[in-house]
Amino acid sequence: MEIKLTLNGRTVTDHIDPGLLLIDFLRDHGCLSVKRGCETSNCGLCTVLMDGKPILSCSMLAARADGHSIQTLEGLQEEAADFVGFIADQGADQCGFCNPGFVMNTIALLREIPNPTDDEIRAYLAGNLCRCSGYDGQLRGIRSYLNSRKG
C-alpha cells in the first residue's frame, strides 16, 4: 500500500507492506535514533512524536501514520541539544540506548508542562525504562536544566 506522511518536516511517500511497524519504517528511512528494546510496549525506547504527541512506534503500524506528521530525534536536534547537556553533566547518558526515547518523551513533557515538579517528571517519564542510570541522574539533569532556565 502507499502512504504519505511528513517525516521530520519532509513529505515522504512510500509503498509499504500493510503489516510494517512504524519503528521499522522509520529506521528504513534513516531515523536510526529509534530503538527497539522489547516487543511488548514496555520500554519506551521507540518513542517518537506523532502530530506532536509521544507514541510508541513499535506498537503502531506505519499505515496509521499516513497523513500525519512524525518527528524523531533526528528532526529535533536543536530542541534536544538545549537540555541534554545537563544530563551529560550528570553522566546519566550511560550506555545511551534508551536515550533517544527518553529524550523524545522529555521534549513532549517540557512542551506540555514547561515547569514540571520532580513528581510530574517521574510520572511523565515512567514508561521510559533505563537499566544503567538508576534514573536519578536523569532527573537531576532535567532539574538543573530547568533551574538554569530560571536563572
Binding site: A81, C95, G96, C132
Partner: protein, 763 residues
C-alpha cells in the same frame, strides 16, 4: 590516607560520547553495519531435554528469499565454551553450535539465513522436527548424581580442573577450610543455621544481544558485535568454527548495556557460521524474548550459612555452602560460585576465628547462566548479611554496632580472601558516615504510621574485587598525534560505564593535558593491544594502570626526541605539558614541533604500549541503608530512602561513580522486590518478556543518596579501586532486614514480592 592533588583525576567530566548518545546518533551495532546482511534467525527447542530424531527443512528451504538452513548435521563437532574468560577457561567445553541433544527450552535446533525477516520467520515455522523426549532435570537441588545426565557426552571437556564431573551433573565443586570450624561452632553461645535462595535474574540491558559478520577485503571473518570481550570472542569463534584466530577480527561499536551478559559470546557463532557458509554478510539480533530465555543470566543459588557467635556479639565462625545452578551449560559456573564465599566471609575478618566454604555447581535443563554484575558475591552477601542481621536482632544489638565490632579494617590480613591485606579499607568510615547521613537512630525503630503502614530500616555491607588477580591482563597504547594531542587505544570495552572517558582522564593527568586532547579508540582485535576485556570490575584498576605505565614510557620517548632537537642529553630535559624544556635554560620545544619532528627524518618512536596485571584484587567496600514503608494489608514495600556510602579508593570521575552506584542500587532493588524467574512444570520460562519480567521504573526506587569515603589503594592507578559491581550487593539484604523489622518474617528467598509479604506469617 595519602592526599594527592590531581588536575583531571577526581573531576566529574562528561563522558566523551555523551552528546552523540543523547542526540541519538547511529553508533550501535545495528546502526553502523551495512543494510545488505542476511537475516539470521534461530529455531529453538520447545523441550527442556530431548534428542532431535529427525529434522526436515525441505519445505522451509523452498520459501522465497530463504538462502539456507543449517542443522546439527552441518556444524563442526568440536565442543567449546562461550564464557569470556582468560584461556584456559575454567568453564567446561560443553557446547556445539547446534547439538542434536537439546538441553533447555530455547536451545538452538536450526539456523535460518534469509534475505528478509519475513522469509526467515516463515521458514522457521515450516521446519519439521521430531524429538525423542528425555526426562529433564528441572530442580537444581536434585541435579547432583541424578539418574538423568544433562551432559552424558563423552567429549565433554574441562580445560581446567575445577572439580567438575559430567557423569554426576557437576560443573564444579570444591571446599576450603581455615581453622577448626566444627570446634569453634561447638563452643559458640549462639549458632544460626539458615538457607537462602536467589533466582536467575536477567541483566535486561536495553540493547539485546546482536552480532554482524562479513568477510573483509582480505577474506577474513569480520565480526561487529555488542560485546565486552573482543579478544575472548575471537578465541571462542576460532575454536567453535575451526578456523585460525588470525582469520578473525572482532570489533565492538558502542554497546547498549552489558552488566556481564555480554561477557559471554551468546550469539556470535551463529551469524559467523552463516557468513563462512555463504560468504555473505549476516546479522543476528535477539528479540527481547530470546534475551530473556536464551541469554546469560545470574546463577540461581541456594546458600546455607552457619554462623557462630558469642553472646556479646563476636562473630567467631562462618560456614558457607553454596549450591549453584549453572543451567544447561557451564559458562562462568566454576567461578561465580567462588565469590559467594570469597567476597562475603572476609567482611567479618575482624573477629573470625575459623571459616569453611564449600560448593557444588550443577547442570540442569534450564537456561544456562553466566556473568552478571556482582558475579556470585551478590548472592553470598544476601545470605551472609541477612544472617548477620538476624544475629543482631536475636542478640538485641544494633546491627550497625554489631558490624562495627566484627568488620574488616584497614591493614588486616584477610585469610578468607587469599590472605590479601586490606591496604585501603574505609568500611568503618562508610558505616559511620552512612549512619549519620541516613539518620539510622531515627529510622531503625519501627514506626506505625496509623494507616496500616509501617516504616522502618535495614542495613547491609558489601565488598567485591577490582580484577581477577594473577590472571587477567589490561593494555593500553598511547601515541603522540600530529598536533601535539594524544590517541589512546584500548581493548577494554566501554559499555556505557564511561571507561573511555575515565582512561582518557588518566592520560590527561599523566600528560598534563586536557581530556579533549585525548582521542580514544576501542576495541578491535586487529588494532587494540591485548586486553582481557571489561569485566570483574577491572577496567579502571587494571587497564588504568596500563594507561599510567604507557604514559610514563611515552613521556620518555617525547623527551628523547626533544633532546635530539635541542642537541642535548635526554637527562637534561624535562617534560612540561605542552613543551619540553632544557633544564636551567629557557630553551624549549613545543609538543607540536616534537610531533612534527617525529614524522621527519626520525627513528625514535612516539607511541607506547604497556600491559598490566595484578597479583592482588583490592576490594572496594560499601554500606547500604534503606528505609521502607510496608503496607501490612497488601504486602507492598515502598522504598523511601536508600543511602549508600562507597569506598572505591579514589573515584576517578565522581559523577560516573555516583551513576554506577545509583544504577546498581536500582538493579538490586529490582531483584529484591519485583524481578522474578519461574518455570512451568515443563521447564518453560514464564518471565519471557518485559510484561512479566518487571524492571524497576523511575517510580519504584525512592530517594537515592550516594556518598564516598575515600581510601588510597597503593596498587591502583591514582589510588583507585573499583565500583562497577559492588553497588548491586546491598539492596537485597538491607531490604530483607527492613521487611523483617516491619513484619517479623525473614524472607530468605528473592524476590520478596507483595504476595509473599502479605501471605507469610511470623514463625
Amino acid at each position: 590516607m595519602e592526599q594527592r592533588q590531581y588536575k583531571t583525576v577526581g573531576k566529574s567530566i562528561r563522558k566523551k560520547d555523551s552528546m552523540q548518545l543523547l542526540l541519538g546518533k547511529p553508533v550501535y551495532t545495528q546502526d553502523v553495519v551495512p543494510g545488505n546482511a542476511l537475516v539470521v534467525k534461530l529455531l529453538r527447542s520447545p523441550h527442556p531435554n530431548a534428542i532431535v530424531r529427525e529434522i526436515n527443512t525441505v519445505a522451509a528451504k523452498k520459501v522465497p528469499n530463504v538462502v539456507d538452513i543449517y542443522t546439527w548435521e552441518d556444524v563442526p563437532q568440536t565442543r567449546f565454551a562461550i564464557a569470556g574468560q582468560t584461556y584456559p577457561e575454567p568453564s567446561p567445553y560443553d557446547r556445539l553450535i547446534i547439538d542434536r541433544h537439546v538441553r533447555f527450552v530455547g536451545d538452538v535446533v536450526a539456523i535460518i539465513a534469509a534475505e528478509t525477516e519475513q522469509a526467515a520467520e516463515k521458514a522457521k515455522k515450516l521446519i519439521k522436527v521430531k524429538y525423542d523426549l528425555l526426562e529433564p532435570v528441572l530442580d537444581f537441588r536434585k541435579a547432583k548424581d541424578n539418574a538423568t545426565l544433562v551432559h552424558p557426552e563423552e567429549d565433554w571437556f574441562p580445560p581446567c580442573e575445577v572439580g567438575g564431573d559430567n557423569q554426576r551433573n557437576l560443573v564444579a565443586s570444591g571446599q576450603e577450610e581455615h581453622g577448626d570450624v566444627d570446634g569453634v561452632l561447638a563452643s559458640c553461645d549462639i549458632v544460626l543455621d539458615r538457607t537462602y535462595h536467589t533466582k536467575a535474574f536477567n541483566q535486561a540491558m536495553m540493547e539485546t544481544f546482536r552480532t554482524y559478520t562479513d568477510l573483509d577485503r582480505y577474506g577474513r571473518l569480520h565480526v561487529v558485535s555488542s560485546t565486552q570481550i573482543v579478544f575472548h570472542a575471537r578465541r571462542i569463534l576460532s575454536r567453535a568454527l575451526g578456523i585460525p584466530k588470525s582469520r578473525i577480527r572482532v570489533e565492538k561499536p558502542r554497546i547498549g548495556g552489558g552488566f556481564g551478559a555480554k561477557q559471554t559470546a551468546v550469539c556470535e557463532v551463529y551469524p559467523a557460521f552463516v557468513t563462512l557458509k555463504t560468504g555473505r554478510p549476516a546479522m543476528l539480533i535477539y528479540s527481547r524474548e530470546e534475551s530473556q530465555i536464551a541469554g546469560s543470566p545470574r546463577h540461581e543459588m541456594e546458600i546455607r550459612v552457619r554462623l557462630g557467635a558469642s553472646k556479646d556479639g563476636k562473630i567467631r565462625v562462618l560456614d558457607l555452602y553454596t549450591l549453584s545452578n549453572s543451567g544447561a551449560y557451564g559458562e562462568h559456573g566454576p567461578t561465580t560460585v567462588g565469590l559467594t564465599g570469597h567476597k562475603s566471609i572476609p567482611l567479618y575478618t575482624g573477629s573470625l576465628e575459623a571459616f569453611r566454604f564449600g560448593y557444588d555447581v550443577v547442570y540442569t535443563n534450564l537456561q544456562a547462566a553466566g556473568a552478571y554484575r556482582g558475579y556470585g558475591a551478590t548472592q553470598g552477601i544476601f545470605a551472609l548479611e541477612t544472617t548477620v542481621n538476624e544475629l543482631a536482632e536475636q542478640l538485641g544489638m544494633d546491627p550497625t554496632v554489631l558490624r562495627d565490632r566484627n568488620m574488616v579494617k584497614e591493614g588486616m590480613v584477610m585469610p578468607a580472601y587469599y590472605g590479601e591485606v586490606a591496604n585501603a579499607c574505609a568500611l568503618d568510615r562508610c558505616m559511620a558516615h552512612c549512619r549519620d547521613m541516613f539518620g539510622w537512630e531515627e529510622k531503625y525503630p519501627v514506626r506505625d504510621m496509623g494507616n496500616g503502614k509501617v516504616r522502618c530500616a535495614g542495613v547491609a555491607m558489601a565488598m567485591q574485587g577490582s580484577c581477577i588477580s594473577s590472571l587477567d591482563v589490561g593494555s593500553a597504547t598511547v601515541k603522540l598525534s600530529d598536533d601535539g594531542t594524544y590517541n589512546l587505544i584500548i581493548g577494554a570495552a566501554d559499555m556505557g560505564t564511561g571507561c573511555d572517558t575515565i582512561l582518557a582522564q588518566m592520560v590527561a593527568e599523566c600528560m598534563d593535558c586536557s581530556v579533549d586532547d585525548v582521542a580514544v579508540f576501542g576495541a578491535d582485535t586487529d588494532v587494540s593491544p591485548y586486553d582481557s576485556g571489561s569485566y570483574a570490575s577491572s577496567t579502571t584498576y587494571i587497564t588504568g594502570k596500563a594507561v599510567e605505565k604507557a604514559c610514563t614510557d611515552l613521556k620518555k620517548q617525547i623527551c628523547a626526541i626533544a633532546a635530539q632537537m635541542m642537541g642535548c642529553a635526554e637527562e637534561e630535559v624535562v617534560f612540561e605539558s605542552t613543551r619540553v624544556r632544557r633544564v636551567n635554560t629557557d630553551q624549549t620545544v613545543s609538543l607540536q614541533d616534537i610531533s612534527y619532528k617525529a614524522q621527519l627524518f626520525n627513528d625514535q618512536v612516539a607511541q607506547a604500549t604497556a600491559t598490566h596485571t595484578s597479583p592482588v584484587s583490592p576490594p572496594p567496600y560499601m554500606v547500604g541503608m534503606v528505609e521502607i514503608e510496608l503496607d501490612k494489608l497488601t504486602g507492598q514495600v515502598t522504598i523511601l530512602d536508600f543511602m549508600a556510602v562507597v569506598d572505591c579508593g579514589i573515584p576517578i570521575n565522581p559523577a560516573l561513580a555516583r551513576i554506577q552506584t545509583e544504577g546498581g542500587l536500582v538493579q538490586g532493588i529490582g531483584h529484591t522486590l519485583m524481578e522474578n524467574v519461574t518455570y512451568d512444570a515443563k521447564g518453560r520460562p514464564m518471565e519471557s518478556s518485559f510484561l512479566q519480567y518487571k524492571l524497576p521504573t523511575r517510580l519504584d526506587m525512592g530517594k537515592l543518596r550516594v556518598e564516598f569515603e575515600h581510601s588510597y589503594e597503593p596498587t591502583g592507578p591514582f589510588g583507585a579501586k573499583s565500583i562497577g559491581e559492588i553497588v548491586i550487593n546491598t539492596p537485597a539484604p538491607a531490604i530483607a532486614h527492613a521487611v523483617y523489622r516491619a513484619t517479623g518474617v525473614w524472607h530468605r528467598e528473592l524476590p520478596i514480592t507483595p504476595e509473599k509479604v502479605a501471605m507469610t506469617k511470623p514463625e
